[in-house]
Symmetry: C2
Subunit: 445 residues, 2 copies
């Protein structure tokens, strides 16, 4: 089993070719500007669009409990005006060229992006860079946007299939920032001051903590020139700063097994059965990803077959992994009618135990590899997906793999690797989160 090693630092002021075109990817180049801002691009053939994004290397896990939701609040405010543009100026410019633009905050990053026709790339770079570099965090806009975020929290609360995800994290990572909701809570959002958000903007949105990524029909040097111009003042102020290193986990946060129930008058019960997985740079990552495909990745997966196809117990059933810099999760999600939950849990646990005890067979392994290979290629045909891939490689490893290199790491996984990972991960202590119409204290064993 192997992993993607973190690459050496690139010297400030230089441009490096990271991948030559071929092997399923285009020309990938990186420039590190004086001031520590990285610009990574992929030039793709046969497309008319470009996806352009800027990511801050911080997310909700970098907040303290009192200010939960600050990173996401700030993300909203960056659309609300800069020194030379109002909120309407920003949206009118991007809407006017039909841009697909938005932003999102995760636990470890915050990304702003616009996908546009190639000829509109200069406009996208101008507007997104301006938002990130020159936000005014206007006091009146803070108050209006506070209302929007309280609406967003309420909207999210109305989707029990999403709520169970936060319920699981809050229970399993109790006491760790990883357990807190990205949106914050009604209380923290009501209490956040403009000063606190502005402070976050000033400390987190410095050149060395930002990654610019673009993929599509583009020219690297042209993108770099325009980004350097847009960030000139910030770069000048940053002096000889060097890009932040990839986030490396030290000790994983403590985890908390057991059951948590949020009683709610929903039509279905929504459950997550989960346990600790592996961090992003763990050598077992590729084998666990294959195991997850076999258990819950498609309609032919074991869990889908047993829960839905053979027994009709659910519409949605998935098994999946997620990884952070220092830990990870392997989870199973099922939505089922409330009176089916005991049978669903029994079937799922039996399947996980069977995989832990007996591993996987060669036919399943071959199918999972074919599935990962096909969906990997299909899923990265669009410019948006390539831009995200550049960002996550840069954030995680400072290294960029071609599609072929990435697939070779999957191809190297053996059924012994998968069985070994199954035996280890699937016997870790289980946590169960349930959102559904049950009385407090009901047991789910």
């Amino acid at each position: 089993m192997t992993t993607v090693p973190i690459a050496a630092e690139q010297e400030v002021g230089t441009t490096v070719t990271l991948l030559e075109p071929g092997d399923g990817t285009g020309l990938v180049r990186r420039t590190v500007l004086p001031g520590g801002l990285r610009v990574v691009t992929e030039t793709m053939q046969g497309v008319r669009s470009v996806a352009f994004g800027i990511s801050a290397t911080t997310g909700s896990r970098d907040e303290d409990a009192e200010h939960a939701g600050a990173a996401h609040f700030l993300e909203h405010l960056l659309f609300k005006g800069t020194e030379r543009r109002s909120a309407l100026d920003i949206s009118a410019l991007l809407d006017g060229v039909g841009a697909d633009y938005n932003a999102y905050t995760t636990k470890e990053q915050t990304t702003y992006y616009a996908k546009v026709l190639d000829r509109d790339l200069p406009l996208a770079i101008d507007v997104i860079s301006d938002m990130v570099a020159n936000s005014v965090v206007d006091p009146a806009e803070v108050e209006t946007e506070r209302g929007v975020i309280l609406e967003e929290i309420a909207m999210y609360e109305d989707e029990p299939a999403d709520v169970v995800d936060d319920v699981f994290a809050a229970h399993f990572f109790k006491g760790s920032p990883l357990g807190r909701p990205i949106l914050g809570t009604n209380d923290t959002i009501r209490a956040l001051t403009r000063e606190r958000i502005l402070e976050q903007y000033r400390s987190a949105y410095v050149p060395s903590e930002l990654i610019v990524a673009a993929a599509g029909n583009l020219d690297h040097d042209t993108v770099v020139r325009q980004v350097a111009e847009a960030f000139r003042d910030k770069l000048d102020a940053a002096g000889d700063a060097r890009p932040a290193a990839p986030r490396i986990g030290t000790e994983p946060p403590a985890t908390n097994p057991g059951t948590v129930l949020v009683s709610r008058d929903s039509e279905q019960a929504h459950l997550i059965l989960g346990r600790e997985g592996v961090k992003r740079t763990d050598p077992r990552w590729y084998a666990l990803r294959v195991l997850s495909a076999i258990l819950g990745g498609g309609m032919s997966s074991r869990l889908f077959q047993e829960v839905r196809e053979k027994r009709g117990l659910a519409y949605a059933v998935h098994g999946y992994t997620c990884s952070y810099s220092d830990t990870g999760l392997f989870q199973v999600y099922v939505g089922c009618l409330p009176d089916k939950i005991d049978e669903v849990l029994d079937v799922c646990r039996t399947e996980l135990e069977r995989a832990a005890a007996h591993g996987v067979d060669a036919a399943e392994l071959a199918r999972a590899k074919g599935q990962i290979r096909g969906s990997w290629v299909l899923g990265t045909e669009g410019t948006n997906a390539r831009m995200s891939r550049l960002t996550s490689h840069e954030l995680g490893y400072r290294r960029h793999l071609s599609l072929s290199e990435d697939l070779a790491l999957f191809d190297a996984v053996t059924s012994e690797d998968v069985s070994e990972v199954a035996a280890e991960i699937l016997t870790r202590p289980e946590a169960l989160a349930v959102v559904g119409p049950y009385e407090e204290g009901r047991s789910f064993v």
Copy 2:
């Protein structure tokens, strides 16, 4: 104002080139096989994938009330086995190549599709065609799948932002099949017999009522040969049948204004404010689409600005149109905290009245056209989107427009056209659907 005229019938047994490559689209060809099966393809440059789909020209509005949900039930069953393949065989083959595959039922069509790497196209054609042509509608599978669909209904019920859509349609199109939910109800699903579903399969899935569409890196003649082979028995049995003509609306169904409330203990109120729009072939379609972009299409749209940006009253606010063969809708959706609903309704109604009375200005028109142009091109870069476009053109008009032709129709829209449509459509009787924590009988004026 203009529309896309319905094209003449193509002779059975012939192949016609509908669009030469260029103008933003690839080579588009159509073959009408003896037996009445149409195969339309678009050969795209610079992609490695192909999206392949088969659509039945019937959907939920073709059911009677007693059998509501039959088309969608059948859609599920087609994945459950053919004369030579089990459900697991089907999913294992498609998963094994990483296919992105699924099916969906709308009010007027049912589509089965798989997006695969170009080299896997023969497998996709084989499996999807087999599912559509040779389903066994196995009695045991009918019972298992009944459970899955009851789960799907319950899942949907847990999403109030979706529920309000069905509540609106049921009220506004009361008495018409258009008002019935695509999934059916718990009662109709429990009552549907295998015989009834089988009857629907035999009558609706005949070659003349099916459209095969594929887009991507493909060769038309190769696709046609394989499809003809897969449907050989059905084509032989169909004799000299000719493809079904596009569905043409005669009289639009009656509509029902006024307010409907579904009281539910949700965090947000979810509302749709709607009125009759235009059918697909109405000359005002393009102008209404532009109006809808101006009112509610992006962050710079009037409703987004007034409701969210200036007042922070909602997270999600959209204005949009939808069209059927004989009627259409213009709708506004907002999700807001329950105590904000009166203000939200007031702001929305004021904006709609303002547009009806004063029309739109030149700057907004230019921005809306730019937005439609950009998003049209960006949105059709993928093979899936192109395949869907082929299908909807074939279903609606039997005519295929290049991207340039389509955009020219938008460019021809004047601000007078938009103002005229606004004055007419936005003064039509309003219906309001609300899902939220209100007492029965509360008024929303």
